[in-house]
Amino acid sequence: MTKKKKIGLKYCGGCRAQYNRVAVVKQAQQTLKDLVEFISPESEEAECILVVSGCKTACADITPFAKRPICFIAGEEDAQVWVEEMQQTLSEGT
């Protein structure tokens, strides 16, 4: 069985989110269920951080994650691109 990539999931606060951030993440989780495991961004096991912003202001505080690779999603299209990249990268690695 392939080891799943552990990704720390960090949301912005969502004050004026332009799309349903939680639903988009749920969809990504479903699509990548064999490849990725979303965990707390504060966990030391997180190999990288996925920052899910409700709009392009992307105001989530990412200072605690400065030492780790960070990916950003600020819309549904971003999410789709990110999912495809993950599928390609992680499938190639297996």
Partner: protein
């Protein structure tokens, strides 16, 4: 370890309080389960619940500058302009999720103002108020408490200063000084969320002169301290919450409340006193609290989000959503609503660091923000009622909808768009009614008018703070008028 409470823990913590609450002339033995008060408790509970949700926690939590621990943002002292902006965003978020006043901002604003004023008093008089206050703040943060910020005195005859009043209790004052503390007497009006609070933080209500020094006091008390009495204020349509069914309530989950809080010879230990007769700092504390609180009205943009959403739905249910004037009115509602948000964001982004280390909003912009709040929700509400139609106020009750005798007529004659059930339309109309003229209108309209100071208070501040000389100088230069003319 900070106890970042969740909603259930918060509710349980309220049940331990022995509050002295009255409503409709009777003592309320169990305020938590009292149906008229309960929705307001739900709204405060949301401030706890959402702090645990990953999708909101970036706004709902912060890092304590005292302990470095994660705390609820409502107990935080702003350490940067980013913190101030996040406070604005948190207000909008919570308004947009609850559709009402969630009551907890007033304590946050009181604590931030006190973090600055206590420091400044100490600098002038060599007192230790700031040290006392920070110890108290740590207690609030560690236990994740809700604090009521109590400013508005009854004020009696508005033409008279506190010491000139026909009744000295028209302003909160000291009646006895003891070795271990003080005894105070008076009342605070319009106290939002008072019965849902663990603590009450009292501040003076106006600038004072030396003759008023017995009234220049600030302190904190547990909300169930001996001698404190709460008398719940009525709200339009409040007894809908006692009726059968849920539809007629409009907002079925959340709400707000206000109370008159009487302090009948209440003892305050010295360690909880943050200002004592320093009359020359009363005005500063009032101004700092008011400026923060005027920023806090970003919440109304959040409530506006709910009202706009409800109005769009009703336009669709009525089959009127494609009419150009309806579309234009909804654009206007959004324009006004986002303008409210702009003012709050601007005063936060233009904030600065005070000597105490606390970040403070730009006061001119905070007053402009609140001045808009005294007007725009009324116009947004007017447009919502325009689009909803007169049916909003002539609609029969849920019991009529359920009636075996007349239910079929309600069902038949209140249907508009054939694809939308009558009950769905009724529910949405009741929500608009709730926000624009029911229990939530207390928060969305009249609180917008008078909360954090009535409109004239902001106009005085705006007049004081604009740089009129510079505006005149440039105008003169551009049209060739000499500086002396």
């Amino acid at each position: 370890m900070v106890k970042l409470m969740n909603a259930k823990q918060y509710e349980a913590s309220l049940r331990k309080l022995k509050l002295n609450v009255y409503m409709f002339g009777k003592k309320v033995e169990n305020p938590v389960d009292e149906p008229i008060i309960r929705p307001s408790m739900n709204a405060v509970a949301a401030t706890y619940e959402f702090a645990h949700k990953p999708e909101y926690e970036d706004l709902m939590t912060a890092k304590s500058h005292i302990t470095g621990k994660k705390i609820n943002r409502f107990t935080h002292i702003h350490q940067s302009t980013e913190d101030l902006v996040k406070k604005t965003k948190m207000g909008r978020l919570l308004g947009s999720l609850t559709g009402c006043c969630f009551q907890r901002c007033v304590g946050m604003d009181a604590m931030n103002a006190l973090s600055m004023t206590t420091y400044d008093i100490d600098q002038k008089y060599g007192t230790e108020y700031n040290k006392r206050f920070l110890k108290y703040l740590e207690y609030v943060q560690e236990n994740d408490l809700t604090c009521d910020g109590a400013m508005t005195d009854p004020k009696g005859d508005r033409s008279k200063a506190p010491h000139q009043q026909f009744d000295p209790d028209m302003f909160m004052h000291v009646v006895e000084e003891r070795p271990d503390g003080i005894v105070i007497r008076g009342a605070k009006c319009h106290q939002t969320g008072a019965v849902n609070s663990h603590e009450i933080i009292v501040m003076p209500t106006i600038s004072m002169r030396e003759e008023d020094k017995d009234y220049a006091i600030s302190f904190a008390l547990p909300s169930d301290a001996e001698g404190i009495i709460y008398i719940i204020g009525r709200q339009s349509c409040d007894t809908r919450k006692l009726g059968k069914g849920m539809i007629d309530r409009g907002n079925q989950i959340y709400g707000g409340h206000e109370a008159l809080v009487v302090f009948d010879n209440v003892f305050v230990p010295w360690e909880r006193v943050f200002m004592y007769k320093e009359w020359d700092f009363a005005g500063q504390l009032v101004e700092q609290f008011a400026s923060y609180h005027r920023q806090s009205y970003a919440c109304k943009a959040g409530v506006g989000d709910v009202l706009i959403g409800a109005t769009q739905c009703v336009a669709e249910y009525n089959g009127a959503n494609k009419a150009s004037h309806v579309k234009d009115k909804i654009i206007e509602m959004n324009h006004l609503n986002e303008t409210l948000f702009c003012g709050s964001v601007a005063c936060a982004a233009e904030g600065h660091r005070e000597s105490s280390g606390t970040y403070y909003v730009n006061t001119l912009l905070a007053n402009v923000c609140k001045q808009n709040v005294t007007r725009f929700p009324y116009e947004i509400a007017r447009l919502a009622q325009d689009i909803a139609g007169g049916i909003m106020v002539t609609l029969p009750s849920e019991e009529d909808l359920r009636s075996p005798e007349v239910g079929k007529w309600v069902e038949k004659y209140f249907k508009a768009n054939p694809d939308v059930p009558t009950e769905t339309r009724m529910r949405m109309l009741r929500l608009i009614e709730n926000i624009t003229m029911g229990t939530a209108a207390v928060g969305y309209l009249t609180e917008s008018m008078h909360g954090a100071g009535s409109p004239q208070a902001q106009r005085i501040m705006i007049a004081r703070q604009v740089n009129m000389d510079e505006k005149k100088r440039v105008a003169k230069k551009l049209c060739g008028v000499s500086e002396d003319d």
